[in-house]
């Protein structure tokens, strides 16, 4: 018996463009990162006041998760503990760390300090969607699809999770990239096999 899992949806955001399942849904080239992120939020008509308080890493990952889950994801068929997140990046929370430490020279800002951890983006996605399952944030110099795939398969194939969002969310100043994959046990009409090769194909710019 082969245990196969499927990428039932994907979302990538980079170079001023948003893609879902390989299709470009939005473009705003030339804007600085904060303005670009706000334009994505507005374009998709999202309504979540906490968005404005987030650092750029959380905004980027949170937006990608919103777009990833929009439409065909049937959250109701899962318990909160059955949905998890495995994310990675290369710059941890350095983008916000620099901003936080600039604030220290004047008066240290608790609202910036709380974002000096990379896993806060996972927390923000969990709060928004009431996801309570397994999660982890890994640091990798480049996206390691083999490793991420193995982690997710372990959790799904042992029924620790029933579905998992995995992938990459990285921000440092004007450089940014996210690629999120929704991995489920059942295929749908758009799904591809959950494999390192298929993740890398979607990840590639």
């Amino acid at each position: 018996m082969l245990l196969e899992n499927y990428i039932t949806s994907s979302c990538t955001i980079e170079y001023g463009a948003v893609f879902k399942d390989g299709e470009q849904l939005f473009e705003n080239k030339g804007a600085g990162l904060p303005d670009f992120l706000l334009s994505v939020y507005q374009h998709f008509q999202l309504n979540y006041p906490k968005f404005y308080k987030m650092d750029n890493l959380s905004k980027l990952g949170w937006l990608a998760a919103e777009i990833l889950l929009k439409g065909n994801f049937k959250k109701d068929q899962y318990q909160p503990e059955e949905i998890g997140l495995i994310l990675a990046n290369s710059n941890s929370s350095l983008d916000n760390d620099i901003k936080y430490f600039d604030s220290v020279k004047d008066i240290a800002s608790p609202s910036l300090f709380v974002y000096t951890l990379p896993n806060i983006v996972i927390g923000e996605i969990c709060i928004r969607n009431d996801f309570k399952g397994e999660h982890a944030f890994f640091i990798q110099d480049t996206f390691d699809a083999d490793f991420i795939g193995q982690q997710v398969n372990y959790l799904l194939n042992r029924n620790i999770l029933k579905t998992c969002i995995c992938g990459w969310a990285d921000v440092l100043q004007q450089d940014y990239k996210t690629a999120l994959f929704l991995v489920e046990k059942q295929k749908n009409e758009n799904s591809v096999l959950f494999s390192a090769g298929n993740m890398d194909n979607i990840f590639k710019p």
């Binding site: 503990e81 350095l94 936080y100 608790p110 806060i120 309570k132 999660h135 944030f137 640091i139 194939n157």
Partner: protein
């Protein structure tokens, strides 16, 4: 790979370990000091880090930890190298074997480098945890790409769970799991801005608890599936959950940590009655300890002896889960649960059995819990 093979759960043995803290350079030195009730938390007068004095567990500023004076290694990396080197000594684990994986856990790694110079692109590379992991991997000759976990205050527990799973999956036979954090102005100012620091040695679960102390340290644990270690203590199960409630405040109910506790017991094929003692996170902040007590009660563990080691070490962040698990392994081996320094009167609404003085034990199993920013919770079970 067949489904049945994937479900296999080979035993994962603890081969060796190390705690490197201001109390000592080996696990034995540390456990010896703890048995004498010595705390590393002291009032610190360090105007370079903080103008008001503060309580923390810190290394002396001239300690270099490893013999090499090569300037390439930062304090964070030196701590990790020293801790890993000591744990490896005589362990029989070959770091050059491609069945051996290195796992590094840290919350902030080399972030103190930001304090001394303006940010510039080369600094980004030096601060990146993957650069530190690469240096450490090269130092010991690891051949496989290191795994790095940065998941707030549960990092150390998640690193052990990840190591256990990588070994169970059969991809590796040995795991070298090390965590460290260094306390600098960056971290200290943040906890000060949150008003989370206690103006004295912290008092976990106590009625008068008023915040945490920070601490420096490193911990290393070596795991293996090699049957030659079959008489050793095992890591039996683990689980991670999220509160989905608030990024900087814990769950109001403790249900999510309780879920992780129950899942870790399930993974270990144990029930709550098997657990002999609990090494709690017990940071001594009002909200953490209250949430943890609720979670422990919800898991049916309210009468199980429980301690927090934060009064001895402070909160060592990415190393905490490792250091506190390794000390608890000593408790299991020596049949002695350490007290919770600073605890006199229970100050949580769900009474839990906080150990206030050294407690002889015949425990076969213990539970380690941790929680942190981002709503994360983790639990791991060890046993004979």
């Amino acid at each position: 790979m067949s489904g049945i093979d994937k479900m296999r759960k080979p035993d994962v043995f603890v081969v060796a370990d190390n705690v490197l803290s201001p109390l000592g350079k080996t696990t034995a030195e540390n456990f010896g000091k703890l048995k004498e009730n010595v705390s590393a938390v002291k009032q610190q007068h360090l105007p370079a880090i903080s103008s008001p004095p503060f309580y923390a567990s810190l290394f002396g500023k001239d300690e270099i930890f490893i013999k090499t004076d090569a300037p390439v290694y930062t304090k964070f990396e030196r701590l990790l190298i020293a801790s890993i080197e000591n744990a490896l000594q005589g362990s029989g684990i070959d770091t050059k074997d491609n069945k051996t994986v290195l796992i590094i856990s840290s919350t902030k790694g080399n972030i103190s480098l930001l304090e001394n110079e303006q940010y510039h692109p080369e600094l980004k590379k030096r601060i990146a945890l993957s650069s530190s992991a690469k240096l450490i991997a090269e130092y010991f000759g690891f051949t496989r790409r290191p795994v790095i976990i940065s998941n707030a205050c549960v990092s150390g527990v998640v690193a052990m769970i990840s190591g256990m799973r990588l070994l169970r999956s059969g991809q590796y036979e040995n795991a070298v799991i090390a965590g460290a954090d260094v306390i600098s102005a960056f971290i200290l100012s943040g906890f000060q801005s949150f008003q989370a620091l206690s103006p004295q040695v912290c008092r976990p679960f106590d009625k008068l608890r008023n915040g945490l102390n920070l601490g420096e340290g490193a911990g290393t644990i070596l795991l293996s599936t090699d049957e030659k270690y079959r008489k050793n203590i095992k890591v039996l199960g683990g689980s991670v959950s999220n509160d989905a409630n608030h990024i900087s405040g814990p769950s109001r109910t403790g249900q999510e940590l309780s879920y992780a506790i129950r899942q870790s017991l399930h993974d270990a094929d144990l029930s709550s009655g098997d657990i002999g003692f609990i090494s709690a996170h017990g940071t001594a902040t009002v909200y953490n300890d209250e949430m943890e007590a609720r979670a422990i009660a919800l898991s049916g563990l309210q009468s199980v002896p429980l301690n927090s080691l934060k009064g001895y070490y402070g909160h060592t962040l990415g190393a905490a889960g490792l250091i506190e698990s390794i000390i608890s392994l000593q408790s299991l081996k020596h049949g002695l649960v350490l007290p919770t320094l600073g605890f006199t009167e229970c100050g949580v609404t769900k009474p839990v059995n906080v150990v206030a003085s050294p407690l002889p034990t015949k425990a076969n199993y213990f539970l380690k819990t941790a929680s942190g920013f981002g709503g994360c919770n983790a639990a791991v079970v060890f046993g004979k």
